[in-house]
Symmetry: C2
Subunit: 486 residues, 2 copies
Amino acid sequence: MSRNFAINMVGQDALYAVTFNLFVMNRKLLNEIRSTESPEDDRFIVDLQSLIKQKSISATKQGLVECANLVLNIMQNAGITSELLYLDRNEDVPPIVYGEVKSKANPNGKTILFYNHYDVQPIEPVELWNQDPFSGKVEGDYIFGRGSADDKGELITRIKTVEYFLKKIGDVPCNVKFIVEGEEETGSMHIEKYLSVYREKFLCTGVIWESGDVDEKDRPIISLGMKGILSVELIAKEASKDVHSSLAVLIENPAWRLIRAIESMRDDKGNILIRDWYKEARVFTKEEVAALASEPFDEHEFKREYGIDKFLNNLKATEARKVLAGTPTCNIVGFISGYTGEGIKNILPAIAIAKLDFRLIPDMMPQLQFERLQNHLQKNGFEDICLKFVDGEPASRTSISHPLVHIVIEAATEAFGTSITSVSAAGTGPMYYFNKVLNVPCISVGSTYIYANIHSPNEFARIDLLRKTIKCMSKIMEKVAATPDF
Amino acid sequence: MSRNFAINMVGQDALYAVTFNLFVMNRKLLNEIRSTESPEDDRFIVDLQSLIKQKSISATKQGLVECANLVLNIMQNAGITSELLYLDRNEDVPPIVYGEVKSKANPNGKTILFYNHYDVQPIEPVELWNQDPFSGKVEGDYIFGRGSADDKGELITRIKTVEYFLKKIGDVPCNVKFIVEGEEETGSMHIEKYLSVYREKFLCTGVIWESGDVDEKDRPIISLGMKGILSVELIAKEASKDVHSSLAVLIENPAWRLIRAIESMRDDKGNILIRDWYKEARVFTKEEVAALASEPFDEHEFKREYGIDKFLNNLKATEARKVLAGTPTCNIVGFISGYTGEGIKNILPAIAIAKLDFRLIPDMMPQLQFERLQNHLQKNGFEDICLKFVDGEPASRTSISHPLVHIVIEAATEAFGTSITSVSAAGTGPMYYFNKVLNVPCISVGSTYIYANIHSPNEFARIDLLRKTIKCMSKIMEKVAATPDF
């Protein structure tokens, strides 16, 4: 029942779109519309399943071109004029799926650009999945699989919103464009180049960003920023092969070297000890501080979900939103060295490898931070450790006072019954390049339940939230068309 | 050619055995014996190959009982009265292969006990082997495979020595016993119990230990001691699953915790910082200091073999033998946490696991050292880290002045043309329990080339050294029979 309720609400929004809010539907009429269930309502689930089934892991470059073609196909079937964009077909850069629909009613009006990605995170540790990570299995209100939430679920809500308008009224309220990339999970290495090369295509009034969270009380979180990131790999080597551990009196253990190097970067409270690390870090404005104070945070639910009984440094819950939005991190993503199988094998490893990620906040630039890290290793006697730049993206924050922010808040509140405005997400995406190349605001809003196991085993999307998000997107398009002054 | 040369030298030793040194063979006669090649000369290689082909990894308990039966079979075929000994068949303890031959000529004389093991180290990293680790492939003078050197190659030299005596003269010069265990590579957890339960069987005059090294100049190293060991596993856990790394501002990273815990145990010079760690550590006697000073150490060859250009702490080569014999270690065997695959996956791991081994010297007892490590973690704020005892063995040193030491030095010098006497090996074995239960000296001498990749990929045995070792063992047996006063 709840499924059909939500999709009929989208139907109602489309009716609004046709008549430009000329009438208010009464409760009786609404109930009548709810009762006329259409067999095509569930088509978006089938399309989402086909997207989940198509592997597209950017870390291993698996299935990317195939998935781009599938997205192209789904968009074209929806009536969106679509094409694959390439930088250079000889290079191994996954294509961008570009799409657009001009509004017949408002061809010279505002243009919304939907930003999404078709690539997904790796599936490891595979053994912790309760089902095939690429099954797209539906159980009750849940659809499981890698990418179900991040970001194939989000993408399908936007495609289906446009499809819905085109099928029901033969038009869209405002101009709409799509940019669906294939490298988001590995740091969007080519998005800036794509935006620059195809700048004319992407020109718009504002960007509706991918990956909008919905909290444990079903409140959509409208997020106005993203942290940046610097991901690196560190490799320490010593002997030319693993050797008998009795030689540890004579041969340096690279795991020890790497542990010391990593340990020198951060104190046990999480403060980063690399010289000038925080030099350019932007402080919150008064407006942002006020907004942060009013952002809800369910301490109990968060701790229950992650199975923890205290926060890092025994931080108070009232500080949680502030650190999520504005505190840089130095995090160990992975570490491997030596024998890690069953029992014991008394060796001294030849090599140790660590992967670290540093979340950055606005005005900290990844390349400069990387150089600082390089200097840190050199000045602290770790010049033998090989440091590799894996990926980097600067942070971004959109001003709370922008008119498009107001529109999105209204639309989300109407679609979900409530909403939360967040100064910045804790995660990372390439918002910065959109700000820089297109000079437009980026606002994140969407369907991803915050405990949906994104980047983890058993990722899922909630179908009820996908439906509400389709409603939210249609309201945004209507409101953009109806708001002349921005 | 070199293969047959060596085996004929053993043939010559047997002739000595028959006539009790009544004649000296001249060079012409020696050359004649060399030219009469016997088809049975290479049988020991075939038997060694069959042992290598039989997997017997004690860390994973793979193929242990099968390998014990194969050893039993080879020993029985050699004419050794053999049986499998068990502690409790209901427990999962691998059997010991016991064997004995009484000397008809000297039934009430001395008894040599050969100590060896049929279990091997794991084969990881498998991808670095140039051939199947269980092939037993012969290339020129090398036989490859896990266990080819450590310890199946050593074992076969001793079985074949006895077989040779029995087939050629129908007797052995002195009484001989075999104890071949299946848990050496995982710390000989049950050897003390086996020695106690079957003490009467194992009573002897002295033990010829497994795993004797031969240096880069083909000098056998007669080793009079072994370091002890304590192997542990440390596990840090925090969140109930891997989570998105943006949450690193709120959730403790267990890899950080574990790194800090490990880092607190040892300074960067290798000194162990755990309270009272060195309290019982025995210092070298004057005799031992003198012996250590005369032990050769080929710095250039060592560094070339392991691909290093300096020693830990820029230690001088003149100190190498001293630290190998007498310096305790704290070594990282393995460390794993989080995402270690291709590219990057921005997670905060749920768990981090480290395996450490500590080499101990005489009078440091593993259980007490483990308790000190436990206290260290608790007193330094790491009480949340789970510490597991994996295995432990105390160290042992036999006095240089023991008469059996003199016999072994003579035998090895005659068989190899030269020899080195070492105060202690850098490695570990359960010598301590033989000292304790049987109250006898243990002396290591054998066939293992020091760069034979034991515990590493591409382990091999040198066939020429196996042949020389058969000669050495037969000389030891003869000299024990001929030396009345010990």
